[in-house]
């Protein structure tokens, strides 16, 4: 099932992968704030280019390109809607600055997608769960998150098996109009849900047997500790945010 491929995290060892997910998240938020401050094209292009070193350091170019391609349609849509509303609201004329505004809106979206995709491409779900735990998120939630990630490939495989079994009994998935096609999936969904429930019961049993809930203060095999690289990233984030705020108030940004 190709749709689930994107959810499979690939273990790569790189400087970016080894950074603390909490700091990476702060960085993403920093870029997010900086991107929201500007509606001019030059600072947004700068923000866009700023992310590229991270992508190359993490060696996730290919997956990163794929996520950008996925966002292309929505980006085009944003640009189109912007132009159309300006065109209609402005007595059917479009000025170059209007185009810049629409382009900036689009670029802002692309920068957001870009930074989030770098975050998710370089953070293992394991790390993310650990970060959740250490950020005082109740353990139950962190556990639910990691377990969900763990069972995505298992359920995908199971869905495939059920599909094959139902097709072997004569179920035709690609037949009929849209509504009929959706209805065709009911005989796939019901066994899948039933088996997922059964699986979850077995899981609960296994958890109970391994002392789930034995003590209030649970310990953890791993801890996240900040390293040199994390402080560097924190510094970079601070520079971006402060620089952006400074530029916003004191620098007149040239427009097209």
């Amino acid at each position: 099932m190709s749709i689930f491929d994107g959810l499979k995290f690939r273990r790569v060892n790189s400087i970016i992968h080894n950074l603390d997910p909490r700091i990476k998240f702060i960085y993403v938020i920093g870029v997010f704030i900086a991107a929201l401050l500007f509606l001019q094209i030059i600072p947004l292009v700068a923000l866009f280019l700023l992310q590229l070193p991270f992508v190359f350091l993490a060696r996730v170019q290919r997956q990163w390109m794929r996520s950008l391609r996925g966002a292309a349609f929505l980006a085009g849509f944003i640009f189109f809607i912007n132009i159309v509303t300006i065109f209609l609201g402005n007595n059917y004329t479009v000025t170059p600055s209007n185009i810049e505004g629409a382009l900036s809106m689009t670029l802002r979206f692309v920068v957001l997608v870009e930074s989030f995709s770098v975050f998710f491409l370089t953070t293992s779900p394991d790390h993310l769960g650990l970060a959740l735990e250490q950020s005082r998120v109740p353990y139950e939630f962190a556990f639910a998150f990691t377990t969900a990630v763990r069972f995505v490939p298992v359920l995908a495989e199971e869905a495939q098996t059920i599909m094959d079994a139902q097709k072997a009994r004569g179920l035709e998935l690609e037949k009929g109009n849209l509504l009929k096609r959706i209805r065709n999936y009911i005989p796939i969904l019901i066994p899948l849900i039933v088996s997922a429930i059964r699986r979850s019961l077995e899981l609960a049993e296994a958890m109970e047997s391994r002392a789930w809930g034995a003590c209030k203060k649970r310990t953890n095999l791993y801890t996240l500790r900040l390293h040199k690289g994390d402080y560097v990233l924190l510094g970079i984030t601070a520079i971006i945010v402060i620089g952006a705020i400074y530029a916003y108030f004191y620098v007149s940004i040239p427009t097209l």
Partner: protein, 282 residues
């Protein structure tokens, strides 16, 4: 006192009128390798669940009789208290691993009881070495084979250093070769670490040679119990539907035909081969 002792144990699952186990009284001593067998639906799994308190705490239902495990009455102690004494390994390896790396899964129980990081590290590494999966400790559970997954499950209960390990048909999802490896791991733990093993299994061909205490169940009751050599040579055992090891069957056939191969019932092909060779050289 026996490590596991049940007296007239009867249990009924909620919403079912017929009890799943009835009047079960068994004693399991420290260091034994116990094999429980019997046809499907005979109550083996239910009995297992009694050993660590899943029955009746997780399943509710109605329970009568007494059961003590490692000196603890399981009826008024929660499963997590028993988890330190009894490790339970389930049939489907996939559904008992929930972390994203093997190492983390093995540590899960220790994390729950709040062990310190150093102690945890040490016990996890020990458990990984014992089960022979130390080299794959960074992999994710769905990247490894079923046999390896089941070894992870064993390691994860082993890390808690239990006195008893209960395994509920641990190899029914595995091929014969992986199954044999699992049994070897279990046998080693029993022999070298002195851990009491309770194994539920249909494949007596592979397991009979390890056991020194066989329990045969049928329709919720214990029908036969004791030395495997005695029990497997009884006709009643065959009638219940126990899969007698091929070596034992062959021995009986030859005996019926008048071959004298000694009085010791063999449990595996190696033992039978030795007896035949001895008879031939005589």
């Amino acid at each position: 006192m026996a490590l596991i002792e049940t007296r007239n144990l009867t249990y009924t699952y909620p919403g079912i009128s017929k009890p799943s186990i009835e009047d079960v009284s068994i004693q399991i001593e420290k260091g034994e390798f116990v094999l429980i067998t019997g046809p499907s639906g005979c109550g083996k799994t239910t009995l297992c669940r009694c050993f660590n308190g899943l029955v009746p705490h997780f399943y509710q239902g109605e329970i009568k009789g007494d059961i003590t495990v490692a000196g603890i009455n399981t009826l008024d102690h929660h499963t997590y208290e028993l988890a330190k004494h009894v490790g339970l390994v389930f049939q489907n390896p996939e559904n008992q691993l929930f972390a994203l790396s093997i190492e983390k899964d093995v540590a899960f129980g220790l994390e729950n009881v709040g062990a310190s990081r150093e102690a945890m590290r040490q016990k996890v590494d020990w458990a990984l070495h014992q089960t022979g999966i130390y080299d794959i400790r960074d992999r994710s559970p769905h990247e490894i084979s079923g046999g390896q997954q089941q070894r992870v499950a064993i390691a994860s209960v082993l890390a808690m250093e239990p006195e008893i390990i209960v395994l509920d048909e641990p190899t029914s999802f595995l091929d014969p070769l992986s199954a044999e490896k699992i049994f070897e791991v279990i046998y080693k733990l029993n022999k070298e670490q002195g851990i009491t093993v309770v194994l539920i299994e249909h494949r007596l061909d592979l397991t009979a040679k390890y056991t020194n205490h066989l329990i045969v169940m049928d329709q919720g009751r214990v029908c036969l119990e004791g030395d495997p050599r005695d029990i497997l040579s009884k006709e009643e055992t065959q009638r219940i539907g126990v899969g007698i090891p091929k070596a034992t069957l062959l021995y009986q056939m030859l005996k019926k035909e008048g071959c004298s191969l000694g009085n010791r019932t063999p449990l595996c092909s190696e033992e039978l081969a030795d007896q035949i060779l001895e008879a031939l050289s005589r």
